[in-house]
């Protein structure tokens, strides 16, 4: 039991990652595949943040005097995730615009019915 409670953030992050992967592998609707991609990305971001967590640490911001450097969490994963979230939004927009083009061209979003896309 302590394994689960110690690693609860890892379980949450990889739960999201595997839900996203399952959706990408199984679903036929292109919009649902893109939703799966988004869930996957959220899981990866959560994983990076939880790797950088340090027990009972605060945000790495010296916003008031008296904060100790030793009680702060790792700033590097936070800096990486910060940019990854915004890039994720842009990638999501690109994927959705590609989905619009696919729908215009083939008249369907079902991946099984698109001939060139059979897999």
């Amino acid at each position: 039991m302590s394994f689960i409670s110690d690693y609860i953030y890892y379980f949450g992050a990889f739960g999201l990652i595997f839900i996203g992967l399952y959706i990408i592998l199984v679903k036929r609707n292109l919009i649902k595949v893109i939703i799966g991609l988004s869930i996957l990305e959220t899981g990866v971001n959560l994983f990076l943040i939880s790797v950088g967590y340090i027990g009972s640490g605060t945000a790495p911001i010296f916003s008031k005097p008296g904060l100790k450097a030793s009680s702060m969490v790792d700033p590097v994963p936070q800096a990486l995730v910060l940019t990854a979230i915004v890039i994720g939004v842009a990638v999501l927009a690109l994927a959705l615009s590609l989905a619009i083009r696919v729908y215009r061209h083939f008249g369907t979003l079902n991946l099984r019915k698109i001939k060139e896309q059979r897999w």
Partner: protein, 228 residues
Amino acid sequence: MRRIVSLILLAVVAVGVALSLSRIPFGTPKTRVGEYYIREGRKETGAVNIVTAVVVNYRGFDTLGEVTVLFTAAVGVGAVLQLFGGKSKYIKRRPASLILRTGCRFLFPLILLVGAYIFIHGHLTPGGGFQGGAVVASAYLLFYLGCRERRISEEATQAVESLSGLVFLVVGVLGLFAGGYFLLNFLPKGDPGSLLSAGVIPVIYIAIGFKVGSELAGIIDKLMEETE
């Protein structure tokens, strides 16, 4: 069949991930570089927010690359939707109700103000160019949903985007001339914790805020054009 194969595949991957993650303890310090940034960051960069110091100063080049990725995605959205799309036009929609329009007009400048506050104070408080830019873009999303008959000018977003990207590059090249390093923090650091401190960090973060805001607003504009 497909479901079963996928589930087996995911189960195999999950076992591997669990085995490797059980060796990585949760909540312990893992990197020395993070400790160094926290210990020396205030002195070296003048920024109180260490995450900002990492994003703009220590990993400024990396951030330039990420801004480029964002730019490429925005260009890709435009290319996919308009270049090969042929006709892209707004259809006449029913105007929103009076309450919606008034609320949107009232909230739009306030959201812009919050966004600007977030990216101007990026080196002092939680926030920065990326977050502030996203808030600014959300103001434009509200504008599109609430005041449906209006739209923002595409040329203006592109001009703001290009100019702010240019500011980022010019500040980097100025650092090259001032001290021999690209993106060197050549301005005076000032007193950590005050608004005018941390050298070039606020300048770059304001440029990133404008760039991200105009890029996301442009993406919203292009996606709204496609709703037929």
